[in-house]
Symmetry: C2
Subunit: 303 residues, 2 copies
């Protein structure tokens, strides 16, 4: 699982960082997560396969997270996209999109499926064969959810030498991968643990932007491999962060620590900080395995 | 008068050119003309004085001309702008903006004044001390106007040597600049032409995007110093241009020629043309003083 950062700036006047958007993928499925103004240009810049996106996950309806959606949907229509696009978000996104479409004469060439999610409890909302997606309730003064992408449990791996040793059939291999023991011709039983190796650990990615620090976030994302947590401010501006339902870098690190996350990635930086060294330093004091997100970089989840 | 091109691409998927937006100014007043997605970032990139903009002129409500507006207005509010912003456009812009504001929780910190213009006849809609602004009816299958910026007639310039020769007072100088003759103490009359030099020729700039070729455009902008005319396509795709109410570069040149424009600037290029050499060549065959607009460049009008 990978995440490509398209924008790690907060709202406010453009000051060099792009508005929130990122692509989470496993090289089969590409999910767009938030879609601030300019997401389309950033998708182009970093050569993301924009036409393979079938799901968009929006955290909330503030402009720095959705204003890029109108252009992207218009462009899909001008390319005569036919495939359904699913849009997951707190309530209100459909009205925003359809009102704008009406005023601006957008005729969608493809079905839009809006899935409204609640913001009170973590909900399972979507899955592929390999990944499931859950909401993360956030505290932002407006209905707002983060998104948790989790690999599904995978079958154990069969030990290659066992296939030849016992002359296993495909049906036997499938059953053993799913946990069965092997019964030999002489009725001896070979236990599953002798035939298989454990599957790789499950990786997970949590995207939390925007939010005041929240113990519930730590609970929901407990054990997450990679936590992207907003750090709009540094501790110097903690009061301002609280007033605006945002976090400082230190608070983000405290959440990562409480959640026993594998790694912390900071983002959603206020335009007042041209440099984010202070964010990094104050977070690493609490949670050493912290990085400051960089636009354009693709981060491997859990590696 | 100058025009800074922020985006010269047409609608459709982002392919390297930015969506329509430009800044017309005389170093006193800065007008934003169209506001496609990413205009805010382009204003920042080219260090335009974004807070000095008091008027925005929108040609029509297609996304590639207005989707940048929501982000810009939000940013003004987050900066606590207080000054009124006037927005000139065909009908519908206020509904687009206010519906989006309602869905996305934008609270404007400043008054917005929407001025709806008709699209049938050229209308005078705005003026400063030095510049007046007129609509240009365009043919685009949706209500659409271009914008004509014209310097107002200026007083003649007094010949510096006359001030000392005749010992002119301020009141006399002002009267002479406005056309009065000078009556000397002995009642001799010095005619105005002897005291003054003609004012510099009046400059004008016309922005015509998007439109099928239109004789009415040529009539309205007759004698314009600099004509920015859309050239979404080359002649090779003339049929497609007609179907979409767009122009080819050759047609843009024919309009410039019919209008006896001083110079032609081509723009609004379809993403299918990575290179615009052909646009330039076919336009120059008809109208030699043609340039292909370049994003980021500031063009002097009438020089």
């Amino acid at each position: 699982m990978w995440v490509r950062i398209l924008g790690n700036g907060s709202g406010g006047p453009f000051r060099g960082r792009h508005y929130s958007a990122q692509v989470v993928h496993d090289r089969r499925h590409y999910f767009l997560v938030d879609c601030g103004e300019g997401a389309q240009e950033q998708l182009h810049r970093y050569e993301m396969p924009v036409d393979r996106i079938q799901q968009i996950f929006i955290t909330h309806l503030h402009g720095d997270h959705v204003f890029g959606l109108l252009g992207l949907l218009t462009s899909y229509s001008l390319k005569n996209r036919e495939q359904t696009l699913q849009l997951f978000s707190p309530p209100g996104l459909a009205a925003f999109v359809f009102d704008a479409a009406r005023h601006c004469g957008i005729r969608f060439s493809f079905p839009l499926e809006f899935i409204e999610v609640g913001c009170e409890h973590s909900e399972h909302v979507f899955e592929t064969k390999a990944i499931e997606v859950w909401t993360i309730p956030l505290r932002h003064g407006t209905p707002c959810v983060g998104w948790l992408f989790r690999e599904k449990p995978r079958p154990r791996n069969i030990r290659p030498e066992c296939i030849e040793r016992y002359g296993l059939s495909f049906a036997q291999i499938r059953a053993i991968k799913e946990g069965a023991d092997l019964i030999l011709a002489d009725e001896r039983i070979v236990p599953n643990e002798e035939l298989t190796l454990p599957a790789k650990p499950l990786r997970s990615y949590a995207y939390c932007s925007d939010t005041a620090p929240s113990e519930e976030v730590a609970d929901v994302v407990r054990g997450v491999s990679l936590l992207y947590h907003e750090a709009t401010f540094t501790s110097e501006h903690e009061k301002e962060a609280a007033e605006a339902f945002h976090s400082t870098a230190r608070q983000a690190a405290e959440i990562a620590s409480a959640a026993q996350a594998g790694q912390l990635l900071l983002g959603h930086f206020s335009g007042r900080y041209p440099d984010t060294t202070r964010h990094l330093c104050e977070a690493r004091e609490i949670f050493p395995n912290t990085e400051v997100s960089v636009e354009g970089i693709e981060y491997a989840v859990g590696e």
